[in-house]
């Protein structure tokens, strides 16, 4: 999707956020998403882009939603998506807790209770950085296994400052890594999980090369990173899928699904496909039910298949 005026928008959001945060947070969230809805009304090209994407998504998913309504709300939620967890930066524990509805906490606790660590299978749906923010606020032993995220709260940045061989800094990945770097990274991630930590890794990353599997998503075939499958098979740690949607009242709804275990054989090349597809199917179902939180998935038109 065209990111017109993205830098301006980021600077604008950073400027207004300190004032908006003084409002009740659900109101602040609706206020922020209001900028996106305003852009939708003011710019015909943007409006057409969203409507085309949503209409395409509706035809693929056989969704019964109203294209105009969903397009407008999606445009608003794009602002919240890009704001990441900045809305909660510096707010008190009480205010942050009121802002989050959490379901499936028992499933997460049960997974960690197995004593084998846990793989938190994340994605770019809805308010995608909020679960990580919430998990850190709740003192879960969390490590992010992804490229270093930018434009996030000082709260999360503080948690990146840790020492030791399993420090957060050593777990950030780079697309420029060579074979030894990547192997080192995977082994470190496995050790992190085995130490009892929660490894936060996205399952919807389009990638190329061996550590990938093809999966059908929104009517097209894409190649997704299967690193999470390899790690799950290597460590036998439970995998918990999480989603975070923006509720109409402005709050965030974090949902943890029941854990599953990936068999060891899934680490063998070519055996991980069904597991990747399983996650992608869950993601597609989430999008079907909550299309206003689909962020840029409806704009994925060109499959990145190697």
């Amino acid at each position: 999707m065209e990111r017109r005026g993205l830098n301006f928008r980021k600077r604008f959001l950073r400027a207004v956020l300190p004032f908006i945060r003084t409002l009740p947070l659900p109101v602040a969230a609706r206020f922020l998403s209001g900028f996106g809805r305003l852009e939708y009304r003011l710019f015909p090209r943007l409006r057409r882009s969203f409507r085309d994407a949503v209409a395409h998504g509706r035809s693929i998913l056989d969704g019964g939603w109203d294209v105009s309504v969903v397009s407008r709300e999606l445009a608003g939620n794009h602002i919240l998506w890009r704001t990441r967890d900045l809305l909660l930066d510096g707010v008190s524990e009480a205010r942050a807790r009121e802002m989050c509805i959490v379901t499936g906490r028992d499933d997460l606790d049960a997974a960690l209770g197995l004593g084998r660590g846990c793989i938190m299978l994340a994605n770019h749906f809805g308010a995608h950085m909020l679960p990580a923010h919430w998990l850190l606020r709740e003192d879960f032993p969390l490590r992010l296994y992804m490229e270093r995220p930018r434009h996030i709260s000082r709260f999360m940045l503080e948690h990146f400052r840790s020492d030791g061989p399993l420090s957060q800094d050593k777990l950030f990945v780079s697309r420029q890594s060579d074979a030894s770097d990547s192997a080192s990274s995977i082994l470190r991630a496995a050790r992190t999980i085995k130490s009892g930590m929660l490894l936060y890794i996205a399952g919807d990353v389009r990638w190329s090369g061996r550590l990938t599997e093809k999966a059908r998503f929104l009517g097209q075939t894409f190649q997704f990173s299967s690193t999470w499958v390899v790690l799950a098979a290597m460590t036998q740690a439970p995998v918990v899928i999480e989603f975070c949607r923006m509720e109409p009242d402005g709050r965030y709804h974090i949902e943890f699904l029941p854990a599953f275990i990936v068999p060891k054989e899934a680490a063998i090349e070519g055996q991980g496909g069904p597991w990747v597809q399983r996650f992608i199917d869950a993601l597609e179902d989430q999008i079907r039910r909550y299309p206003t939180c689909s962020n840029d998935y409806f704009f994925w038109r060109k499959p990145l298949v190697a």
């Binding site: 030894s180 770097d181 990547s182 192997a183 050790r191």
Partner: protein, 101 residues
Amino acid sequence: MTTITNESVLIARLAGIIRRVAKLKPEIPIRSETRLVDDLGIDSLDLVAIILQIHEDFDIVIDEDAVQHLRIVGDLAAQVAERSPQATEVNLVPEQKRAAG
């Protein structure tokens, strides 16, 4: 049996692991100076499997910081020898001793 110290035997053992894990043809030479990626086409997934097999076979752990710097088979051998001095000591029957030179 005769116990000897022989780095070449360690290289041979590692070569066996590498061939098996990376499914390399027997005619591909593997020596101490052989480059893992450029000469053998080893990728990250292969290297992870090789390291894990070495952990199991030699009962050692090569830490992740060391894995980052592995470039040639000799680097692997150095890591194994550092963590398991007896890895370069091998009990050989006379025939194996002759073959190892």
